[in-house]
């Protein structure tokens, strides 16, 4: 299963944001840095996950997503739209 997505700020992709995945247990599970297109990728399992983005300049975004078995999900972390 894949959970991928993109971090944007003011409509532009953010490279170098740190995206954290918090698991159904409420604990940190993984963290990645966004690429030049603002993209990130995780390999979780079914359940409720929290995606947290830390952007340069101190911005902080967060979304909760539900993954069902076999699903791949694309998540937008857009500053001001979280």
């Amino acid at each position: 299963m894949r959970l991928h997505g993109k971090v944007s700020h003011a409509g532009l992709p953010v490279e170098g944001a740190y995206v954290q995945l918090v698991g159904p247990s409420g604990e940190f599970t993984a963290e990645v840095r966004t690429d030049e297109s603002g993209r990130f990728l995780f390999y979780p399992v079914a359940g409720s996950w929290v995606v947290r983005g830390f952007l340069p300049g101190g911005h902080h975004l967060e979304r909760t997503v539900q993954l069902t078995e076999g699903q791949s999900l694309d998540v937008e972390l857009e500053d001001g739209a979280s």
Binding site: S25, E27, F28, A30, R33, P44
Partner: protein, 282 residues
């Protein structure tokens, strides 16, 4: 309360203030080994955690002569001050810290918060690779008191406190590896019988810095009940997150009898006949 060894941490502010100091050896160690090429702290050299810190023909640390050669190539002597940093909240930098302690290096520190904090603070990065003057490094013999091996771990099941520092999802066997990695792993999921799950991340703030000594004491001693004078073994998947916890327990909280099991779950979970809990076993 302060850390047992507060001097092993250095802030990003203090590293920035000391850039250009010829006596300072900044070393980046990452899981994402392309990170260094993308941009690194000025003057930093890199160490590749697998290609350089592990042997090519066996899963082990490089031998003493190989380590001496490696450090010498980076222009580092056994008396130099080394500052380590890396991505993933310093997982692999902590591995390198533990590794340098195995070979008896005294003056080694971790940049608190690692690469993430440095980047998010907008501090300078360069793609210029330094050309260090080769040096002669004299290592000590490996300190076995801080490293646990397979047979010792099997013999210690339900005898010695073990801390599984992976996420609860890995501990319970829902995941086989951290969720940013494809889920390849050991033959079995689960954990070593009797091991308690204290994810490494409980020791870190959101910016990657270590929590305060009081907070760490509450997490590991008051709540988890680790004995400050007793033995303990930390493990994870491949030994890098457990190095982070080893730094917390051995260096920041001053527990003298803590070992890192760097074979960790990828070894233990593939051993024929080794007992496990959780995972596929119901």
């Amino acid at each position: 309360m302060d850390y047992a060894k507060p001097e092993i941490l250095i802030s990003t502010d203090d590293v920035a203030a000391r850039l250009g100091d010829p006596n300072l050896h900044v070393v980046e160690v990452d899981e994402d080994t392309a990170a260094y090429e993308r941009g690194h702290v000025p003057s930093a050299v890199s160490l590749h955690w697998r290609d350089e810190l592990q042997q090519a023909n066996s899963r082990d640390i490089v031998d003493k002569e190989g380590f001496e050669r490696l450090m010498g190539q980076r222009g580092i002597t056994e008396n130099d001050e080394i500052i380590l940093y890396g991505g993933n909240n310093n997982w692999f930098a902590a591995y390198a810290y533990w590794y340098l302690k195995l070979y008896g290096h005294d003056r080694v520190r971790l940049m608190d918060g690692g690469r993430k904090k440095w980047e998010l603070e907008g501090r300078p990065l360069t793609t210029d690779a330094p050309s260090p003057q080769p040096a002669t490094y004299h290592a000590k013999d490996p300190d076995r008191s801080i490293r646990a091996f397979r047979d010792e771990v099997i013999g210690a099941v339900r005898q010695t406190p073990m801390v599984d520092v992976r996420s609860p999802e890995e501990y319970s066997g829902v995941l086989a590896a951290p969720a940013h990695l494809p889920q390849e792993a050991a033959q079995r999921k689960g954990h070593i019988p009797g091991a308690v799950n204290i994810p490494w991340s409980r020791a870190a703030n959101d910016d990657g810095t270590f929590r305060s000594a009081d907070e760490l004491r509450e997490i590991y001693l008051d709540k988890a009940g680790l004995d400050p004078q007793g033995e303990a073994i930390a493990y994870c998947r491949i030994g890098e997150r457990s190095s982070h916890t080893w730094v917390v327990l051995h260096e920041l909280l001053g527990l003298p009898h803590v070992k890192n099991y760097d074979g960790s779950w990828t070894e233990y979970g593939s051993l024929v006949g080794a007992p496990i809990e959780g995972g596929d076993q119901k």
